[in-house]
Symmetry: C2
Subunit: 367 residues, 2 copies
């Protein structure tokens, strides 16, 4: 069975299809087979593991599409690769009637969406997310972009896909550490929106990590639904969409500091959420017991709870001042006030932020 | 007196202000003086001639704004300069509350608008066009973008400014050849939309070129009004906006072939319009007498009527197949069917196009 979630954005509405073996469905496979102007963007690793793997059921569909592979990894999510993709498209005389298809994780989805938004001033694109992280988060909502050496996702646009195709069969091609990275974003949704989901995750996270079909599909669908609800009300992140950034100001600082790709995004998000939670506790919003629940859910599944040892509190501060949530040189941060509820705070005193980061790095939350 | 034209695009509406000494107006000058987050983008030539020129009346306003200069010329309208501007903005900790201000001609306007559309997924921007070409055309309508080595304006977006400030005082800083280049786009509007305006131009073009205030302001306002009417109905060029591209498929081929900046845009447009007009005559749409009227208006004012001698008809064809109007590898071209009326044609036979270009290069229209 294929579950369908409709994303209602007026002229830019689309469907998310979720299931197993979804490319066996005639309607879905026809989207990828009927059109001569489809170009699939992927990376060299996925090309080998998925696109050219004759043992995979989707081979017979995906292998028929004209494709272009970029290098694998977050450190290739930059303007240079964007130009390479555009050169490929122009050399092959693709025009405004092109449909780009992103086959891959967050990096491929973000860069393909961005190319779609700027190639000849905008063309259609589809998302086929192949990682848990991109299936629950990155592929939905139209945030597209690339990194700049001075900050993550600093160059980008809002550009909605024409459809998102989530097949859990892809997840069996993933190494455990990539699955874990996706789990961090799943936990984020629960902390931001839904205490009951958080409790469900405390009991079922290992089943999700072991790709047990029922729990996995429930979990992916739940996250998609939560995200869609937010996006329908605030596509351009003027209001509540900012809540989805819980932990991300810290996380982006870690990813930028260590060099893109060194820390998996989900791992950085895990540390980032713990830092925001500790800050909230420090500011007397979050209860100690809930802080510990948050730390434990990440810790128990094997996600990191402290940042890189080489990174000093001042390094965080400096990089976080370039965060997209900074307004008038004033840092704004999302923090959980309880499990299932967050708020946006601003005018945070520097010393409070520094103290709070230091306390986290010294694991003082356990004391 | 300042004339105001309102551009009605719902959430993205804005005003165009046209006049002389418009920065002496309190309301307008306050926009540029009150905001701490303004950054002006310009080029090194304009920096010297306008921004830092104490003899110019606008010095006292524009000189107070934080600015960044790129190199001058169409050959710098590329992703590399885009990245340089973004680095400047990030190094100076500008965030989503930034207002970019384009001070310059089409290149500065296009690149600044494009940076505005992708910096942190989009920030506000204003246009202060300083050339005739950008005052009548490039600064209005939200087409932003940069060139790719394989084609002009192949990378870009639709991103509307928050205001356009047209001051004819800037035009006295321009060399004659730059003014002439702008004249070509003015003639374009007349051929596309308005035979009476065409006749007015036949009689008044030299006054415009000599910057006679009354004729100049009339002409700029007329062009802005014609363009605004089209944009309000078709912002994203799904319908009639394509008519504004009269001559541009040929023109972009010339600019790409000769190397960006070698041929001024307006000069290439002049040749392009003559080539489309000749094609229309060849296809028995346009009358010979009107073809000659079109050629003469360009020729009399001193605009080129034939393309570069080094460029063969096949060179045009090859580059034109990368035009943004190509759909399903089928070239579509705008041609005038009479003065004041154009149509979009497709499925043009290669040999007809080649013959028609050859005839133009051999000036056969005069025979």
């Amino acid at each position: 069975m294929i579950e369908t979630i409709h994303v209602n954005l007026n002229n830019y509405s689309y469907n998310i299809y979720i299931g197993e073996y979804i490319f066996n469905n005639m309607f879905i496979s026809s989207i990828f087979l009927k059109n001569k102007n489809n170009v699939l963007i992927t990376n060299k690793k996925i090309e080998k593991k998925i696109l050219k793997n004759k043992n995979q059921y989707f081979y017979k569909i995906l292998n028929k599409i004209h494709y272009f592979s970029i290098n694998d990894g977050e450190n290739y999510k930059n303007l240079y690769e964007v130009e390479k993709i555009i050169s490929f498209l122009l050399n092959n005389l693709y025009g405004r009637d092109l449909n780009l298809i992103a086959l891959g994780g967050g990096v491929i989805g973000d860069i393909t969406g961005f190319v779609a938004s700027i190639f000849q001033r905008g063309v259609n694109f589809f998302q086929i997310p192949t990682t848990l992280l991109s299936q629950v988060d990155a592929s939905i909502g139209g945030k597209a972009g690339v990194n700049h050496i001075l900050g993550k996702n600093m160059i980008g646009s809002f550009w909605q896909p024409k459809g998102v195709f989530i097949d859990i069969k892809f997840l069996s091609t993933l190494p455990k550490k990539e699955l874990l990275s996706g789990i961090a974003e799943i936990i984020k949704y629960a902390i931001v929106f839904d205490k009951i989901f958080f409790i469900w995750l405390e009991n079922n996270l290992f089943k999700v990590l072991n790709l047990q079909k029922k729990e996995l599909l429930y979990c992916i669908k739940k996250c998609c639904e939560l995200k869609v609800k937010i996006i329908e009300n605030d596509e351009k992140e003027i209001g509540n969409r900012v809540f989805l950034n819980l932990g991300h100001s810290f996380a982006h600082a870690i990813e930028t500091f260590t060099g893109y790709g060194k820390w998996l995004h989900g791992n950085a998000v895990s540390v980032g959420i713990i830092m925001s939670s500790y800050l909230s506790f420090y500011l007397k919003y979050l209860k100690k017991s809930e802080l510990l629940n948050i730390i434990n859910i990440f810790n128990n599944i094997g996600l990191p709870i402290i940042g890189p040892s080489t990174m000093l509190p001042l390094d965080y501060l400096k990089l976080m001042m370039r965060d997209k949530k900074v307004i008038n040189k004033n840092l704004r941060l999302v923090i959980p006030v309880s499990i299932g509820k967050v708020k946006l705070i601003s005018s945070i005193k520097e010393n409070i932020l520094l103290d709070s980061i230091t306390a986290c790095q010294e694991r003082r939350f356990f004391s």
